[in-house]
């Protein structure tokens, strides 16, 4: 089922209890870049990256955002992460306005962002170290996650000794290590080859099924969004805004073989129809 252009407008509500801990509400956010300084001989040019974007992500929901380049997907994700402040509107997590990064949110980056002088174990436990978790507990937690992402035997390797897919597993493990309520992923498989990407999609489905964290996933790949998500937000450009919400009613648990089903094709085509209108 899809939502017509205009997106949703969900009013913020006060937290009702632990069940709301994983709810994200984006309430009419807007963001404009540039405009303050004029280039030599030219008038200032402002670019509206986002305009009046509203959506809600329910606890334990996996939501993907797809859209053409420049539609503000990453900007929106960074707002939820607390790395970028909106110029208009607000972002609420568990009923509280986001003013910066917080321990209930964690992020997986496109380029992994591993620190090259730290081993796999040290990278995975990096967030725990910042939180002051004792070394023994950090090591225990990191070992659990090494097993979860199937990197046994590579604990003492440096990032430079790992493949791209392995680095992203470490990035995912690092994000999960701090046990966030909300997992944010900015095209985590975008830099990988097709084979590794598909493998990682399967891994993510397996890992997510074990914990079902509220997840917001930005991707350029429509197929990836359909495979992974409960709901897909389609965004348009100029300015960045929600043009459609598509519920993915494929059964869980899923594997990547869901791509062979007629329902998958139907959903994929529906997303593409919305995207084609934006191109």
């Amino acid at each position: 089922m899809s939502q017509l252009q205009g997106g949703t407008a969900t009013a913020a509500r006060a937290p009702e209890g632990p069940a709301d801990a994983g709810r994200v509400v984006v309430d009419g956010v807007g963001k404009t870049f540039g405009g303050a300084k004029a280039r030599r001989g030219r008038a200032p040019v402002a670019h509206a990256a986002l305009a009046d974007v509203s959506l809600t992500i329910e606890p334990s929901e996996f939501v993907s955002i797809v859209g053409p380049s420049g539609c503000g997907k990453t900007t929106l994700l960074r707002m939820v992460a607390g790395l970028t402040r909106p110029d208009a509107g607000r972002v609420l997590v568990a009923g509280r306005e986001v003013t910066g990064p917080g321990p209930e949110r964690s992020m997986v980056f496109q380029q992994a962002g591993l620190l090259p002088w730290l081993t796999v174990m040290e990278n995975i436990s990096f967030g725990l170290r910042l939180q002051g978790v004792p070394a023994a507990r950090r090591a225990e937690r990191a070992a659990e996650l090494v097993h979860l992402v199937q990197l046994e035997g590579f604990e003492q390797h440096l990032p430079g000794e790992l493949s791209g897919g392995m680095q992203q597993r470490v990035g995912l493990a690092r994000a999960l290590a701090v046990d966030p309520k909300i997992l944010l992923m900015d095209e985590p498989f975008g830099a990988l080859d097709e084979i590794t990407r598909r493998q990682m999609q399967g891994e993510l489905l397996r890992i997510w099924a074990a914990d079902r964290k509220t997840s917001l996933f930005v991707t350029h790949s429509v197929e990836e969004a359909v495979v992974l998500s409960d709901r897909i937000i389609v965004m348009g450009t100029k300015p960045g805004r929600v043009v459609a919400e598509i519920h993915v009613d494929l059964p869980r648990p899923r594997g990547t073989d869901v791509e062979e089903t007629p329902d998958f094709l139907r959903l994929r085509n529906e997303v593409w129809q919305w995207l084609d209108r934006q191109l």
Binding site: G102, P103, G127, V178
Partner: protein
């Protein structure tokens, strides 16, 4: 039925074999482990150049007829006298104290200021013009200003050394921190890092290679500042010793003493280079 066989250790292995290989290597035998051979292969060209320069110097010294110009033989003969002279070591110690104080202060100021400039755009905009001037303009021009303000004493000497070293340490640290991938800092912020933690866990380890390179450059500048101020205005240690040799026409001793200074500098710079290499290998 087990088919495992215990093979005899090949000859030349084990602790005795390792010692044997080192001895053979030291005497240049091909049966050695090659490390000594590789060392001498690398060291030979500079040594050959040194010998050629020494021979050339000797020829010039003889041909010039200038009695103040010592031959290589005379300088080599003066080396044990100088290296065994308590007076020479005392002079070196006096100057080394100024060098140590000045360089340490430059390091303690320059590294944090460099990081602050990299992290704070406003502060960076304020300080960058002064930093650029300090890097480009020879700090020797500031020496008379320092002397007028502080007098002919160790404090003025230390300040001059700081002025020579500080800009380079600051600039290298700032440059290294600014070139760190922004992703690393943002990642640490996402995981809850406070500013001090960003410095400790990302900035410092991430830019340590450039910082150490800056420290090496800063030391070279500090040494330049020391020698400049000692020879021109405030002769407390090495400057005074060089003047003593000069006034007593002890040119061979003077050359040997300069060699002593150079040897000390090479040792420190080599240590910093080694540190830089180790840090870069992380």
């Amino acid at each position: 039925m087990s088919t495992t066989q215990t093979l005899a250790a090949p000859p030349g292995t084990g602790p005795a074999g390792s010692r044997r290989r080192r001895v053979l290597d030291a005497i240049g035998s091909p049966a050695g482990d090659g490390r000594a051979r590789r060392f001498w292969s690398a060291a030979a060209p500079p040594l050959v150049v040194l010998v050629v320069l020494a021979v050339g110097w000797d020829v010039l010294a003889v041909r010039s007829g200038n009695f103040a110009t010592p031959s290589v033989e005379e300088v080599l003969a003066a080396v044990p006298r100088v290296f065994g002279s308590a007076e020479a070591w005392r002079a070196l110690a006096v100057s080394d104290l100024s060098l140590l104080l000045g360089y340490s202060i430059a390091l303690l100021i320059g590294v944090p200021v460099g990081f602050l400039m990299a992290r704070n755009p406003r502060l960076d905009r304020v300080l960058v013009p002064y930093l650029e001037i300090a890097v480009v303009v020879p700090m020797a021009v500031m020496m008379p200003v320092v002397l007028i303000a502080l007098g002919l004493n160790r404090t003025a000497q230390v300040v001059v050394i700081i002025l020579f070293a500080l800009p380079f340490i600051t600039a290298a640290t700032r440059g290294g921190a600014r070139t760190l991938p922004r992703l690393w800092t943002e990642m640490s912020l996402v995981f809850g890092a406070r500013e001090a933690q960003v410095w400790r866990h990302v900035l410092l380890p991430g830019s340590i290679g450039t910082v150490v390179a800056g420290l090496r450059l800063g030391f070279a500048q500090a040494l330049t500042g020391l020698v400049t101020v000692e020879l021109t205005l405030i002769a407390l240690g090495i400057g005074r010793q060089l003047i003593t040799y000069q006034s007593h026409f002890q040119s061979a001793e003077l050359f040997a003493f300069v060699g002593m200074l150079m040897a000390q500098s090479v040792v420190v710079m080599s240590a910093l280079s080694l540190l830089e290499t180790r840090v870069a290998k992380r």
